[in-house]
């Protein structure tokens, strides 16, 4: 155990945020210069200011990592992370794995994990439908056992559907090998393979037009309604307290975004905030998460009047990978939030960050004027 802790700890960066060190040096300097009868540090503050420029910084180095660690089983990116295991779904589920692969498992599907090691992942599709988006050239060999057919992944994105009547394999990108009792064929992108079970027939590779996969008609769910933009009706289908209940159960970033949209539409800012917070916390790698972080800032500042927290949220959003235009808005709003909340030191830091990143930004002249004001 101790050894394992040491191994993992050795991978934590020892890098120091030198810009942060500089910001703190400037804050200490300002604090020392602030008038306070009991503080005899005016002279020291001048010393700090003088030597900031010298940049006498402690440099830390990353530890060497000579050997590649042993590969481990796959985990689902959830909070807490869960070992990738068998699933039986009642509703559509997105499973984001730690190697970057994604499985979209449709409603009413049973997917069994027969093997999950650093070298081999063997899944059994007992019934239902799943879309596999496998990161190519990974260290693991992926195989899907769909009863009469076995699909060997040669890298990529494909869909497998298994019902009592047939098994279908549709390749969207890359290649897979389909193996059965009387067939062994490689499917390219755009090709499908259908194995009829009743009545028995000889399967043949189809033309490059994939067969559209349809789901059992179930009536519009809250998700379908939300996806088509009918947020009011989606809220009615969810029922009282349904958003919170659903958010607790779901692992899907997509569902959380939809639920947040429904909550925002209904004007329940606290609910929307909690959902966006959950997205930021549980799905940091999702490309939509920076926008969720930005929206958190807007809700906190504009709807809930929590300016400092709003400013902090904008700060985080700017660092999280927003587009340049939105990042400029986020940094400006962080500065304004701190300034309006009377947090001068933090406003100053935010103003400096804005000018560092957007020296030609729309708000740059006003921010400079504010910084230079006595």
């Amino acid at each position: 155990m101790t050894e394992r802790s040491e191994e993992l700890a050795s991978y934590v960066s020892t890098e120091v945020d030198q810009l942060g060190v500089e910001r703190i040096a400037r804050r200490i300097q300002r604090t020392m210069q602030a008038p306070r009868a009991s503080r005899p540090w005016g002279v020291v503050a001048v010393g700090l200011a003088a030597t900031v420029a010298l940049g006498l910084l402690l440099q830390d180095r990353l530890p060497p990592h000579a050997k590649e660690p042993a590969l481990k089983p796959l985990f689902v990116r959830t909070t807490p992370p869960a070992l990738f295991g068998s699933v039986r779904t009642e509703e559509l589920e997105d499973l984001h794995l730690n190697d970057g692969s994604t499985l979209v498992v449709s409603a009413d599907t049973e997917l069994q994990v027969n093997e999950n090691t650093g070298r081999h992942v063997d899944l059994g599709l007992r019934r239902g439908e799943a879309l596999f988006d496998i990161v190519p050239n990974g260290p693991r060999r992926w195989e899907i056992d769909a009863g009469p057919l076995r699909v060997r992944v040669l890298g990529t994105r494909f869909r497998v559907v298994r019902s009592v009547r047939r098994v279908e394999v549709h390749v969207e990108r890359g290649r897979v090998q389909v193996v059965g009792d009387d067939v062994s064929t490689v499917l390219e992108a755009g090709q499908s393979y259908v194995h009829e079970l009743q009545p028995p027939s000889t399967p043949e590779p189809s033309t490059p037009t994939p067969t559209p996969v349809t789901r059992e008609p179930q009536g519009p769910s809250w998700r379908e309604l939300a996806e088509r933009g009918d947020l009011d009706q989606a809220r009615r289908v969810l029922g009282p307290g349904g958003i919170v209940r659903r958010a607790r159960r779901t692992r899907s970033a997509n569902d959380l975004f939809l639920l947040a949209d429904i909550a925002r539409r209904a004007g329940t800012a606290e609910e929307a905030l909690a959902l966006l917070t959950q997205i930021v916390r549980e799905h940091p790698a999702d490309p939509r998460t920076p926008l969720a972080a930005f929206t958190r800032g807007r809700i906190l500042s504009d709807q809930l009047g929590r300016r400092v927290e709003g400013a902090e949220a904008f700060d985080r959003a700017a660092r999280a990978g927003l587009s340049p235009d939105l990042a400029a808005i986020a940094r400006r709003r962080a500065f304004e939030g701190y300034r309006r909340a009377g947090q001068s030191a933090r406003a100053r830091d935010a103003a400096e960050r804005y000018l560092d990143h957007h020296p030609e930004g729309e708000a740059a002249p006003a921010v400079r004027r504010w910084l230079e004001a006595p």
């Binding site: 060190v21 020291v44 909070t79 940091p284």
Partner: protein
């Protein structure tokens, strides 16, 4: 995987001693030297303890301001580093406990850990190690604050049991017990993961 033991940079005692004396006398550069020598390490410690960039900067700033103000009360100038660390660790502990209390009361939107162990993983860390660091982070968020701090100080900062005990203001046996509490929780997680 090669385990790389962390070594705490030890500054010459005489240097701290001398800087503290000069800073007490109003030396213009001595206080700055103290910050330059200890500030980066303290910021890194605060970031690991608080998992939050802005809070870590705030705590580092506050700790140095407090330290400079209280320098005249420091009896043994050569022990500046341990004295400063103690101040930082105790304040971090207070803030983490307050945060946990707020979370228990339902103030979930007020704070998001943004720099957990997984986010602090070095670029060389493979995905499965990052996943394990994320698990460590989650497990540590569930053990007691004291156990979490003891584990982080032991494994990330490389402190000995004696140093942890000194900085937490507890006996060596207590420091060891707290580290073990976190280790046990982690061992259980690994065991569950391997089943």
């Amino acid at each position: 995987m090669t385990a790389v033991r962390r070594l705490v940079p030890l500054l010459p005692r005489a240097m701290d001693d001398e800087l503290v004396r000069r800073a007490r006398d109003g030396d213009r550069t001595a206080a700055d030297q103290l910050f330059r020598q200890h500030g980066p390490r303290i910021l890194r410690l605060c970031t690991r303890l608080l998992e939050h960039r802005q809070e870590a900067e705030d705590l580092t700033h506050d700790a140095f301001i407090k330290a400079f103000e209280k320098l005249p009360t420091l009896r043994e100038p050569a022990k500046f580093e341990a004295w400063l660390n103690r101040m930082v660790v105790r304040e971090a502990r207070r803030r983490i406990r307050r945060r946990r209390l707020l979370a228990k009361l339902g103030f979930v939107g007020s704070w998001i850990p943004e720099l957990g162990l997984d986010e602090l993983a070095s670029p060389a860390a493979p995905p499965d190690v990052v996943a394990d660091l994320r698990r460590v982070r989650l497990v540590l968020s569930r053990v007691s604050t004291d156990a979490r701090i003891a584990w982080l100080m032991r494994y990330l900062e490389g402190y000995s049991t004696e140093a942890i005990a000194e900085q937490l203001g507890v006996s060596r046996a207590t420091a060891r017990r707290r580290t073990r509490e976190a280790e046990r929780a982690l061992a259980q997680t690994w065991a569950e993961g391997s089943q």
